[in-house]
Subunit: 255 residues, 2 copies
């Protein structure tokens, strides 16, 4: 088996299920830490700050610091920075998005923005949707943290970021640039962050449609774990298979 | 010119623009009233009650009573009644929709509905969207008052009912049955209400994509007035033309 030098790891369904940790995954990350391999948790959750995400992991016994977290909010803010420093950004999202935009030096505005960035916002209002719609119609660059249509919760599948974003797309006819998995851009940014080349990296996740496809699109080998949403039989229906499929990370040997 | 015995008339762009009355249209309706022709104002606005709509018209000098108003909320409630009396309905909408559902004898519920009905709701919340999404996913029949993607206001084009509805469609993959113009169902119900046959009716409106298409789909002759959103040149791009096109209703002779 090939030796990988850096690891991108999904969170929900891979490290934990809801609030329940997955012990095999935690042991796996502990081994990466012991052996000194770089790893980064790559999440489509735009609502939490990296500190908040790291806190959750630390409480589960995962060796994680803020530096180990890469969210779609950070990736979105970073994509904007590459195009324009200190951009005027109208955001629809939660604390994680707000924090990332400010961390990257952008200015959060209510009108006349250069960019509209939308993520999951569970305090959505018509006014927020209207402002975003008007700004996109008026020519602001439209960016979406991620396209997830549904958000798994204990109460069932709730509307995901992609569903809220469809309000603006439907009203204006303008599609956003999506940043999160399965887009390759998030993976490319994550690898740059840990300084690992594509050929030496492994993307690990439970969700074929986000984690694995992101790996495939970015030309990064992928490891699918069957601890989350995608069942093995689903792979019969897909053209491009993950590089590896395992029941849990207990099966994966780190060289 | 053919003699018509009943008239379906759009409101915004046809009878008024925003808060500004269109005098030629008001004179036209006065003549219909004098000559005893039945007419019904047919509107995709689901947010107002028929009383509220009639009030606006009366203040502009239009001979209108509550009986002259047919809204998508009424049509939606009526469609449900045809399928099921006293249905359990989860609604996302404003006062007009709530009132119509109650008027038609339905029960408004928060969970386990037979039907989910969505219209424009400018007090939209994530919780409302989540309830609607869950209910549709669980098998409730999904009805949309209208599919308008944008809502013209003095502040610009705001998200219309169709844009909000796309949240549920995107999240569940399930499309609603649309009721308002350009669907023929609203026209058919309106004609039944005034007791006029299709061959003897005229649909009058300014919007090709809603009013005129609704007439075409319902096999009802259509009269497009150039007082609202659709410009005459737009007709070069459409396959099916309105039966008549005029600058304003001053040009239309009533026999």
């Amino acid at each position: 088996m090939k030796t990988y030098k850096g690891f991108l790891i999904d969170l929900d369904g891979t490290m934990y299920r809801g609030t329940e940790p997955i012990p095999e995954a935690i042991d796996f990350v502990k081994k990466l830490e012991e052996k000194g391999y770089p790893y980064l948790f790559v999440t489509n959750n735009s609502t939490k700050t990296p500190d908040q995400v790291a806190d959750v992991l630390v409480k589960m016994g995962v060796p994680a610091t803020t530096e180990h977290i890469y969210t779609t909010s950070m990736a979105s803010a970073s994509v904007i920075t590459e195009e324009k420093q200190k951009a005027r950004v109208l955001m629809v999202g939660e604390e994680g998005l707000r924090q990332s935009l400010l961390d990257y030096g952008h200015q959060i505005v209510e009108a006349d923005p250069d960019y509209v960035v939308m993520g999951l916002d569970r305090e959505i209002t018509y006014d927020k949707l209207a402002r975003a719609t008007l700004a996109v119609r008026n020519g602001a660059t439209f960016i979406a943290t991620n396209g997830d249509r549904a958000l798994p919760t204990e109460g069932g599948l709730m509307p995901g970021a992609g569903s809220l974003i469809s309000v603006v797309t439907t009203s204006t006819g303008i599609k956003p640039t999506f940043i999160g998995k399965p887009e390759s851009i998030m993976i490319e940014q994550a690898l740059e962050r840990i300084g690992v080349r594509k050929e030496e990296a492994l993307m690990i996740g439970d969700n074929y449609d986000t984690d694995i496809l992101a790996g495939i699109r970015a030309n990064v080998d992928s490891l699918m774990v069957l601890t989350g949403v995608t069942e093995e039989k689903h792979l019969n229906d897909v053209d491009e298979k993950p590089t590896y499929v395992i029941q849990s990370l207990a099966e994966w040997e780190i060289n």
